[in-house]
Symmetry: C2
Subunit: 349 residues, 2 copies
């Protein structure tokens, strides 16, 4: 394949202000920058799909966490699926499809850490989703932190999201009853009818969420995979079974709060029910990624795992708006931005 | 040994009212009742020491938990160390010292479940404390839920209490740095100077408890054994290390609250630090009690485990006042009530 034309400049999105609460468009700046030249051992990658994920809100805070803080003026961090445009590295050829953390920009260089993607397995965008970080998060969070047993009731919040949809389907593969929590009838219908969860509770329906969960989980909840925190999680906790496990993956309800929110203290319940909670990060399981990825890939290929993506068109400059919407839950499936076209000739699915 | 005179009637303490908040003397009633006659396979036990424990507050609530609710007019539940006065059971002889859950009364019958105590090992009152439920709670809670590793910093709240004093000493045996939290300089000095903890933080000293814990735990906190919950626990959480384990044993700060208290939501912290919390009850480890008891007994005999008891004189009618005080933390060591005299001839220690 002849190398495509590579421009001299590119567009990228940097952090302009540090928002106290909900981010707005003014907290980001779309700017022009040079297309970098790959050095020895490096490759130049053109972004095709930018992954947008809730964890990015945490990077915007000036609080040292498990990952570095984004400085004002720095390119927003994020994973992309892209095409190798130049290669000074023996493992990569021009035209290869790779996944790498290049950030919110059209072009970037990688020093041999990019993951090569097999475009014959599934659409390449899945490398940002079910066959990428979100899929691995679901796999390890559910199976390691959640420890599901056949017959367990597994509840996952943000059930139609990138991680949640995979959690419930793996729970089914593990012989569990899978119950989702999602916002609105459309998402709930998808979770139940298309992904095959046993039930889905609409947290936006109004009324008593604790009672709705009780109705959907008559044998109580053995495993809770928490993506949201806050009052939704309170309602789940009230329905936890004896010996329940809670995998704490995320808490999107808290990401935009300027001040720490307060919630009920219920330590006595955690003792009486012998609840175990475990916070985890997908990279804790790094050494086992290839194993899990092969398993996820097999399930996708055989149709045992379905997925839904929510791809926003319009290029990298749409990323701020798409991200702000994601934090509000306006995505329906794994949100990505189409930064540029797929190369011609990729298999169709 | 000739059987002692057994009266026809006895004193006992029943629940008179269900308190909404802090219990008062009027929530209990001291009354007379018959001394029961042991049936076939039963023994009659005379209480010598009544154990008072924070968990009893939970039994007074009309909420189904891991144990039955005490009904109004029923004898308050509790463990005692006592003397076998009559025996219709082949495993027990008159004069045996036993530990059994007879409740707040002077006499009761047991159907073969009483634990026989070796009075040559340690004072018989220890069967309510370090060589009883509190000691086992410390042993299993720390070692199983807490999973301490040599070099870890282990923090325990209510450090001079029945459970806390054992937790810190076992942490030392496990090669850890042991830091207590206790109320007042007298308790803190005891924890540090007599029990051999590395440090003890006085939560009543005023000032910034989070900062005081940071000073006492310069390498952060790897294991927290929580007996108290509430703001003290918040201050510990702020100092948890990556991969910390929290053994949730109790939450005495919450036992007298009429309404659920609110505290800060910090799920993001639990993810970033990969904290595991685990609620447990000592009876979860029932099958391993004999093993743990032998080990605790060996450590007590060899002087590796020290202990302090807080024995209230005046008979069973003093139990309500002694219990109300326990909930306020006015005990100094394992609180018990001396219900009746020890039999003559027990070894002295």
């Amino acid at each position: 394949m002849a190398p495509a034309t590579i421009p001299k400049t590119q567009r990228r999105v940097v952090l302009a202000n540090r928002p106290a609460g909900e981010p707005s468009g003014q907290d980001f700046r779309v700017e022009d920058g040079p297309v970098p030249e790959p050095g020895p051992g490096q490759i130049l990658v053109r972004a095709i799909y930018l992954s947008l994920d809730p964890y990015m809100r945490g990077r915007m805070r000036d609080v040292v966490s498990y990952a570095p803080v984004v400085q004002i003026g720095e390119v927003m961090p994020g994973g992309i699926v892209g095409e190798v445009m130049k290669s000074n590295h023996p493992n990569y050829a021009v035209g290869d499809i790779v996944e790498e953390r290049l950030g919110w920009q059209e072009y970037g260089v990688s020093s041999g850490t990019a993951r090569k993607i097999d475009p014959t397995l599934a659409p390449i965008s899945t490398a940002n989703g079910i066959l990428g970080m979100p899929g691995l998060t679901a796999y390890f969070g559910l199976l390691e932190a959640g420890q599901p047993k056949p017959g367990d009731t597994v509840v996952v919040s943000a059930a139609s999201g990138a991680v949640g949809q995979v959690v419930g389907q793996i729970a089914k593969l593990a012989g569990c009853r899978a119950v989702g929590i999602a916002g609105g009838p459309k998402k709930c219908a998808f979770v139940k009818d298309e992904l095959g969860f046993d039930a889905c509770v609409d947290y936006k329906a109004g009324g008593d969420l604790t009672a709705a969960l009780k109705a959907a989980c008559p044998d109580s909840i053995d495993v809770y995979f928490d993506n949201v925190g806050g009052p939704v999680t309170d309602a789940v906790f009230a329905n936890l079974n004896f010996w329940a496990r809670v995998a704490i993956c995320g808490s999107i309800s808290q990401y935009n709060t300027a001040e720490t929110e307060f919630g009920p203290r219920t330590p006595g319940f955690f003792v009486g029910r012998r609840v175990t909670t475990r916070g985890f990060i997908v990279s804790d399981f790094l050494t086992r990624f290839p194993f899990a990825m092969a398993r996820l890939g097999g399930w996708v290929r055989s149709g045992k795992l379905k997925y839904r993506e929510d791809i926003v068109d319009g290029g990298i400059s749409k990323a701020p708006e798409a991200f702000i919407g994601l934090l509000k839950g306006d995505n329906f499936g794994k949100r990505q931005v189409r930064v540029g076209p797929e190369p011609a000739g990729l298999p169709k699915f």
